[in-house]
Subunit: 333 residues, 2 copies
DNA sequence: ACATTCATTACAAACGGTTTCATTGCAAGC
DNA sequence: GCTTGCAATGAAACCGTTTGTAATGAATGT
């Protein structure tokens, strides 16, 4: 591979001049610029990013830590991050953490050893290691898909409590009073927020909250199946299931079908996230739209701001959600 | 950030010794090693990857080009690539090409400018730019999810023709004779291979192939909906739909439901890929299992071999597929 | 005609490690 | 006792850019 020296020699100038031909062409005379460019072209010269980045002490790379890249919601967020990254000439190193704290800790190291300029974390694991002693965050960091307002670092997400409340209100407005909850993992902030929103709406219309009608499991279709199986065997009188994710809802639909329920006649089911498959369920899933791509875009924009300005804004961006009414929730007479 | 000089000074040795303490500790005496490590620890010294990589002229990074990261099949392949990458201490730069050739060309450049050591491409765009003049491939390159045996570069995938034939044979064995085909994009090798496999099986039992019963569209749920709508309005007598992907099948199921078909009684539908959602369809989707994660793993292993050995094996790894029988295909009387 | 300014361009240091080669000191072999 | 060999370590070169500073020369002003 040709390098800057070769070009300089061929063009009869110094390496510095060649370098400036790229970084600030206005500093060169018309004729020299032309000569340099021609020489570079002839030798097919491409500056070594490795050398450039080493000099600049920047990597132009952002690390994205994803609990599970095969999860469609996360994949869409990554997609949004990508779009903005490309626009701003950043590369993305994607790390599938598998929800493993050990792998996540590597993220900090990658920034410290100059392999990445910053970290975007999807999901809510707080990564306490990243933020020693409650001080200002040590490295450029943005958390997406979790808008924990108590966090000390910038976050991008939705108002889970409000969004869940919106869906619960809708179920109530359709006449449902005995509503089961298929929750995700109990120890997640997301789960607690959505549960709180659900309770808010019940309280607002004086419907008592039935603690027994809540089943926790993983945020997955398999989790939805398991949770639904347990709940339906325990509570036979429910008219609706409030599911904390579309995947959970899809699992619940499978279980309900298998148990002979006719949907939505015998049981209404609502989801959360609005993944594409929900539209293709039978019946099509009523859910809450979470702007996944946009969350990714905003997160990456924030990261760009941080990297450019070196300041760490303490914002908590809350993006709007929307009720998506389809056919899986029925209006009771 | 502390650097090697600081550690050397504190330990009372030369930078070279500190360097060796990491790269080949056996070269140091017990006491020096201990002293160096203690000093490094005290200063929280982390060698700068940027400097190391610059010296070594390697990036320890592989570029993965994905047509659409939000596609579950691709996401699973990436997941498999990830696993092997982590094992071998490689980082992954993931680029969502959006099926755009311009972005894909950037891949070559990233290797040429030392931003990545090699490229794994998902999907089948041939990227002729990568392989100028039919010579041995210029940069470390592996293509996954497409086992085009005519390619000059290593590939990992399945035998699409055989797999499609297997499914077609199954449909035939269940008594279906008037089978419609919902194909993906017509100009893709994958599509042509699967169609060929379909024809193979028909020919084997002397069932004539009906050219009119093929509809092409994108490999997506929306594409499946559109294609199914067109096909069903044109051909009323079909007993089964052979879909070239699960997403297409899921779209077709939606369309069939909407048109009042009772599935699978009135119409059998088969998919291809075995994505997780197929299991949760109504009815659960009969499909062909494609080992997506494994394809990713093999692709990355191949890449590791190439990067280590500098040789570009001309293998075409064919991974096994499996018929997954669920409920969306009915046995005709 | 000479000083001054400005536009161009060259020179050389710097970035932070790794590695080659040379040096030192000590133990073993004759 | 002197040579030889080996283990341990240091000095310095090197990787390919960028950039601060100096040098050059032409143009301008007086």
């Amino acid at each position: 591979m040709a390098q800057i020296r070769d070009v300089a020699k061929l063009a009869g100038v110094s390496p510095a001049t060649v370098s400036r031909a790229y970084s600030d062409p206005s500093k060169l005379s018309e004729s020299t610029l032309h000569r340099v460019l021609a020489a570079a072209d002839e030798l097919k010269y491409k500056p070594s990013s490795l050398a450039q980045l080493f000099r600049e002490k920047r990597t132009n790379t952002v690390l994205v830590m994803v609990p599970d890249i095969a999860n469609v919601l996360f994949a869409r967020v990554v997609s949004g991050i990508e779009r903005v990254a490309v626009e701003n000439k950043y590369n993305l190193i994607v790390s599938d953490t598998g929800d493993d704290a050990a792998i996540e800790a590597v993220g900090v190291e990658m920034v410290e050893t100059y392999r990445a300029d910053g970290v975007i974390q999807l999901g809510e694991r707080p990564l306490s290691e990243l933020h020693p002693e409650g001080e200002q965050c040590a490295i450029p960091f943005v958390q997406a898909i979790s808008a924990d307002p108590r966090g000390r670092y910038p976050t991008v997400g939705i108002d889970d409590r409000k969004a869940a409340g919106m869906m619960a209100s809708y179920l109530l407005s359709q006449g449902h009073r005995r509503i089961g909850v298929l929750a995700g993992l109990e120890n997640r902030v997301v789960t607690q927020e959505r549960l709180a929103g659900f309770k808010d709406s019940l309280a607002a219309v004086d419907v008592p909250f039935d603690e027994v009608a809540v089943e926790y499991d993983t945020y997955s279709m398999a989790g939805g199946e398991r949770a639904a199986t347990r709940l339906l065997s325990r509570k036979g009188d429910l008219t609706a299931l409030f599911c904390m994710s579309d995947e959970i809802a899809i699992g619940a639909i499978r279980t309900a079908h298998d148990q002979g329920f006719i949907l939505p006649r015998d049981l209404s089911i609502s989801g959360f996230d609005n993944i594409e498959f929900g539209k293709y369920c039978t019946p099509p899933l009523t859910t809450v739209m979470q702007p996944a791509e946009q969350i990714g875009e905003v997160a990456m924009s924030l990261m760009c701001d941080i990297l450019r300005g070196q300041t760490m804004p303490k914002t908590h961006e809350i993006l709007p959600t929307e009720l998506v009414v389809r056919a899986s929730v029925q209006k009771l007479p």
